[in-house]
Symmetry: C2
Amino acid sequence: MTHFGDQLAYRIKELQNPSVVGLDPRLKDIPSYIKDEAINKFGKTPEGAAAAILMFNKGLIDAIADIVPAVKPQIAFYEQYGHVGLKAYEDTVAYAHQKGMLVIGDAKRSDIASTAEAYANAHLGTVDVFGESIPMINADALTINPYLGSDGITPFTKVCKEQGKGVFVLVRTSNESADEIQGMAVGDELVDEVVAGLVEGWGRELVGESGYSSVGAVVGATYPEEARELRQRMPNQIFLVPGYGAQGGGAESAKPCFHANGTGAIVNSSRGIIFAYIADKMTERAYAEAARAAALRMKDDLNRLF
Amino acid sequence: MTHFGDQLAYRIKELQNPSVVGLDPRLKDIPSYIKDEAINKFGKTPEGAAAAILMFNKGLIDAIADIVPAVKPQIAFYEQYGHVGLKAYEDTVAYAHQKGMLVIGDAKRSDIASTAEAYANAHLGTVDVFGESIPMINADALTINPYLGSDGITPFTKVCKEQGKGVFVLVRTSNESADEIQGMAVGDELVDEVVAGLVEGWGRELVGESGYSSVGAVVGATYPEEARELRQRMPNQIFLVPGYGAQGGGAESAKPCFHANGTGAIVNSSRGIIFAYIADKMTERAYAEAARAAALRMKDDLNRLF
């Protein structure tokens, strides 16, 4: 039986790279030679958009699989093309696995009881199809939203336990208005600090040999002070850290998300890596090469922290 | 230009029925003659499951379209069959529209900025496909989660404004552990009461001629005291009320979700309607008829409140 927390912790160590590449394939920024090929085959249709996305992703995965532990496809960018977009998402997950990468599905799902169970089965586990258990999307981990409390979390952690998968619970997001709800004061604590306590509890029975739980936490790099506090409250959680690069946080701002020994966090960059060819003024054909170079720069950037 | 708040308020009035039927098609409870037909065509595959779900839903929609204002498909039950499940979801939305029903997509999505925009476009608006704007899922309204604050809401309200669509923001959910986060005390208020204030603000510029906003709120029937408080704080919000029937709340418990004049709420029942044939010990072939009878009983039940 696999254990997601251990898997991720060991793979980070092996590659000496605590980063994850966000696969947020905005069609407008995908190289036009890829889009032209997709349009030639499928026309200017959602099928064409999905084909372009998948081709683009495969090139990226090929370019980074040996240096980056995980990819994080943001499902909204696939879901927007409806069911053919979701097919491209499924195929992206499968391709990343084929190339040895871990996959963190960024879906931020939230619901309760049997509905949450359906999401958990779909994204991480197996789904009952007329009596047969079939893996469906089959990512290694999924981001989830805690607003509904334990009823919205335990159906996911149950699947994590049974199938060796993981979740990252939103605790402190990286956006400006995160404070509106997450930053409210509840007695001496902030809402996100109370949530951190819940996450620590939910993850306790899923702590692996690495010392890390398969129940992780999303903690933005844009609130370093708060990250320091949350790091103390969730010692066994791997932090999935958005907000590096495009959202304004540098490596230094992500530092409080790590333990002093440099473990315990995985920092995400999406646009900064996958569309590096634009920022770096390279040719479209070099998009994957540019992504690899950007991923290596990010790795070095993060490794300089400790 | 349509206005979702007005559309829903007027349709409730026209049918004298403040209820919505949740389309949560659990495969195990779908009549076996429908499943057999689907298996004959597609085998014991996700395609077969999706076909069974769609056939089942069409029968339900045919049976209730003239007496119930809206359906609320719970996307998790479709998403669990991957992209073919999402196709069944899309087809369900289209079929309900064809029969004159409003569709509230229950997806509880949450994200920020361009990612939230992608969800909003996918579920409610139009998606750019190589320069053409194409409606994708095209529901009338969508449930969304407020944990990320305004950044996670305004991309949705923007689409609501531009396309005449609506959202229902989770404020107080119907489950037992809702209190863990939503019920925490922030000074003199509870977290969900602060969220209610935010929702009222987000919805202000979308209040229609009916007096109701296209930005509604999810408020469970299982916390009547709290519902009373929230009703006062969100006078212009239509409350989408889960927890009637299977989750234990009767019509009486939903009463505080309405204004004194009997408007301002729409009560959901899922299993209690769509699988009424099981509880009422009717034959499988009578599942749609049983659903219609259950929907009429629920309508009467709610109309007795005022």
